[in-house]
């Protein structure tokens, strides 16, 4: 840096009447500027710019480090915690809702099974009642049928008895006609018993 400063007067002081740099000849300076040297290499202006920039840099650094960065970080952290809190709350609500829906589903399942059980019981009860009733009817019917059968059997027996008498009379008549002499009732009866036994 030091040698830059010392070489500065030799480079150019064109148009700076107020600054007669020590050891610089104006002719040389003018010639050099005319040859198109970059204005950025007029080193006598470096010191002031650098010093000023360093001051500005230092002030801005302190401001940013002490004021602006903490402020922005605080807001960003606050936002992050707000968002995290909101997400946490939402998660809790979601979990609650999930639990409630699970409970509701369990209730529903229980109610359904209860109703099914009720339905099955009712059906079984109805079926057993119906079976009982039909059994009672069956029994009543069976009694009627037995009575009717007994009546029929009695009627048939008496009818059969009449048939035997009619047959023996008919047989005695037939024998009388055929043989000319009457057959005794006992003979006819034994003959019929023989026949009926064979038949």
């Amino acid at each position: 840096m030091a040698d830059l400063k010392q070489s500065a007067p030799a480079v150019s002081t064109h148009g700076e009447g107020a600054v007669p740099a020590p050891g610089a000849t104006h002719e040389a300076a003018g010639a050099e500027h005319g040859s198109g040297g970059l204005p950025q290499f007029e080193f006598q202006h470096w010191g002031g710019q650098i010093a000023y920039l360093l001051v500005l840099f230092a002030i801005l650094y302190v401001l940013i480090a002490r004021v602006f960065t903490p402020r922005i970080r605080r807001v960003i952290d606050e936002r992050a915690s707000t968002i995290a809190g909101a997400i946490e709350a939402a998660r809790q609500v979601q979990a609650e809702a999930l639990e409630q829906s699970r409970a509701a589903a369990a209730d529903l399942a229980e109610a359904r099974s209860r109703s099914q059980r009720l339905a099955i019981d009712a059906r079984a009860k109805a079926a057993s009642e119906a079976a009982e009733r039909s059994a009672a009817e069956d029994a009543k019917l069976a009694v009627h049928i037995d009575e009717a059968e007994a009546r029929i059997a009695a009627m048939r027996d008496s009818a059969m008895a009449h048939v035997g008498a009619v047959a023996s009379e008919t047989a005695m008549a037939i024998v009388q006609k055929l043989t000319g002499k009457p057959a005794s009732a006992a003979e006819v009866k034994s003959a019929m018993a023989l026949r009926g036994g064979v038949a």
Partner: protein
Amino acid sequence: MADPLHQFKIEKIVDLPDITLPVVGHVDLAITNSHVAMTVAFAAIVLFLTAVTARAQVVPGRLQTVGEGLFGLIDNLTDSIIGHEGRKYFPFVFTIFTLILGMNFLGLMLAFTATSQIAVTATFGILTIGLVLIIGFAKHGLGFFKLFVPSGVPWILLPVIVLIEFASFLLRPVTLTLRLFGNMMGGHVALKVFAGFVVTLGAMAMAGGFGLLGIPGAMLSLSLVTGLTALEFLVAFLQAFVFAVLTCIYLNDVVNLGHGH
């Protein structure tokens, strides 16, 4: 045509008495257009950051979104490049970034670009490398020189590698300085040259006759100036960003010396 380099000329606005310092030598104290440009950029940054942070809300407004965007950009850089210690160096990187960005942008809107002055860019470059050196020696003492000895290099290559690493380290401030300076100055010279064409060709067209051919040329130049201006805004941001990235990388070299390679 106006001299395209004239815009880089330092003009004194208020002259102050010169001083001669023992080491530095003769210093021309004056408030120049460069000082004004730097001050305006500085004031704009402070105003912007104050506006962003003064009434900072959890739900940000437009300005706060922009400010937090810039903040987050550099915060991510320092975090991702330097690592968990990055926060300590954030203010430095952010200061450099905002100052360069402010000066670049204001140069596109005002008449003078502070970052096209090599004195200014060199100050930024030397500040960065100075911080790197200070951190390097403060954290590692003489172990700082391990920076030039990458691990895992065959010993026979070591002298060459060390030489190359050392030279590249020495060139860091120079490249930092010249990259920013060259980009800013080149862009502004190009803008000035094409803008000068518009005026010159327009003047030719005023004379009539063949000079009327200057009109399409002037139109072309004007559209080029428009396009270049947009490009320069991109470059202005990009150069500030590149400077910040490189600052982070160089800081990372010494902050995480020995376990970063």
